[in-house]
Amino acid sequence: MNKEITNILICGIGGQGILLFSDILGEVAMENGFLVKKSEVKGMAQRGGSVISHLRFGKEVYSPLIPLKEADFLVSMEKLEALRYLDYLKEDGILITDNFYMPPLPVLVGEVEFESHTIDKNLKEKVKNLYYLPAQKIAKELGDIRISNIILLGFLSNFLPFKIDDYLKVIERNVKKEYLELNKKAFLKGREIFSQ
């Protein structure tokens, strides 16, 4: 089913650059001649909440939402969020997640108890193709913790049929000039890690 559509679900915490990630990838897909649908919800407080973006491209795409168990890729900027949206991932789908964990506020203030070590156990048990990427750590080494999204995009790009230049061109259109070089560097770094 849906062999001709590529489904990518991107998730994380508000403020981590999830929408920029899917905007860039959506435009790259469009420029490669695909029809694209992309869905996310905005509003309420902008930082700190669970955020999800659906991206689909192919010859013909109707629903802007990915049905459960049909995502080819799940990319997460935080690992509890990866676990939260795992039901979207296909049986043989690929999960790429930062191994960073951020406790949700109800856990922080002691209203809800949660054993965070269960996250890794669960992910390893349930996902065949699992890639942990210390994107935040690498971002910090590159000089700005906020570019971890682009590092993850670079990593994901290894699995997609688009050229490096296509991404760099779209990144140029979507980020402020002063951050352009850093973003390009982040993309290439993410791309490289895979072959290492």
Binding site: I13, G14, G15, D23, G26, E27, M30, L35, V36, K37, K38, S39, E40, V41, K42, G43, M44, A45, Q46, R47, G48, G49, S50, V61, Y62, S63, P64, L65, P67, L68, L80, E81, L83, R84, L86, D87, M102, P103, P104, L105, P106, V107, L108, V109, G110, E111, V112, F114, N122, Q136, I145, R146
Partner: protein, 572 residues
Amino acid sequence: MKRALLSGNEAVARGAYEGGCLVAAAYPGTPSTEILEEISKYKEIYCEWSVNEKVALEVALGAALAGARALCAMKHVGLNVAADPLFSSAYIGVQGGFIIVTCDDPGMHSSQNEQDNRFYGLFAKIPVLCPSDSQEAKDLVIKAFEISEEFDIPVILRMTTRVSHCKSVVNLGERREKEIKGYKKDVSKTNLLPQFAKRRHILLEEKLEKLKEYSNNFPYNRFEEGKSDLLVIADGVAYQYAKEVFKDASFLKLTMVYPFPDKLVSSICQKYKEIIVVEEVEPFIELMVKSLGFKVKGKGYLPKFDELNPDRLKVFIKKEEEKEKKSDELPRRPPVLCPGCPHIGTFYLLQKKDYIITGDIGCYTLGALAPHYAMDTCVCMGASITLAQGIEKVNKRINDQRPIISIIGDSTFFHMGVPGLLNMVYNKSDIILFILDNETTGMTGHQDHPGTGRTLMKEETKKILPEDIARACGIEKVYVLNPYKIRENKKIIDKLLKEKKQAVVIMREPCIFLKKREKPKEIDIELCTGCKLCIKLGCPAISYEDNKAKINENFCVGCGMCIEVCPKGAIK
């Protein structure tokens, strides 16, 4: 042809541009906000943030009466605020094309209800168009201007969150300037004195009959023959979900759902034994089809609440309802006040107390949740100030001594708070009103308003201060405080809560998105005793690990509120 990946809202703006729109007005509200933000990028269109939706609709109607193409946009509940002129506008009609865009929010991603504004068309006697993706959104804006002018009637364009915020590929065209006819005096048309309005109503009913014929032949009400014996009738984004799920079915895609294309629907329905209607929230189409005498499956299979998705539609195919598989119980990550949000400073002082706190609509509504629990009500724009007055009248009678506090944001105060404040003074209510002034419309993504001194078109304008309005309304005790100064504020606020007399307290500090980030603060682990007082702030940048507080440098904006509350001086 030039193509772009546009959200539905960006596409509406593009349609307004290409369709020769001259005036656009709105009050921001999710999921509608980006329409006017995008329109403001087209210099050919005059656009404004109006103080509320009623004002926006009237400004746009005025422009349409002056002969220009005009548009107003609002979220679904905004149309309740604008309902008064909406109903009258159907009687009056237009000169230039006039579109009312309503963005409904099935699933309540950022709203207080799930009302289905297709019913406003039926109720107010105004045609309703429902696009299902960005290309249609753009095309239908242009079409709606034409319909509006041809039939001398406003047109509602009904979007939903998933149409407004989904991006899909759109073919771009050029702008076609429309000749502006100019304001023509025609009192019997534009002045709804009863003797004129009676005639206008008769005329309106005649127009609706003609529009029904138009709807029967409207090419966007489209039949698509499939291979199976199943007919699916759907509108909006529900059509896209249904196409994903019922691959072999025949489709009747409805776009103009009011006036309802009865002949078209009857002629198709009679060829099918099995008919299902797929639509979000209310059974609008279902009721219409049933009234034509056809049996259909719709609500009962599909819920009347929440948004749809492809998985929900599978209830029609599977014998037994297969429950959506749920992950193991994980702690939710609800939206929270941002790190360094100035509202935190106010809620820190009001949290977990036995005060009666009426709230309003904005980011600060989150003060109702953990860890602050400092907001009892959220009803609609402006209701904080007025609900409190009713409570106060009762509490005086029964000698309930709890302080009554109202909390409203700056933009919400300008929107609908001012009449409530007038009423509070006029009718002598002792309420302590907090205006959380972050100098922007925060929740919808930082739009200007009368207090910012800037218009949507980025022109300088007079800056109107809430404290001046409060004094003009007759409030004698007006305070302007900085919410970050928690220790100083505590003394003043505690005194007011003890006095329980009428007062307005303006907590002024710009939203963190309007300021430059300061250097993140750090915890001195030697000095931190793990007392958790800083955790009580509810700042998402502060966590707790190995019995010590910890600041996440990715999130911290360096506001320093935590320094105010740390008794050991362990934060620097």
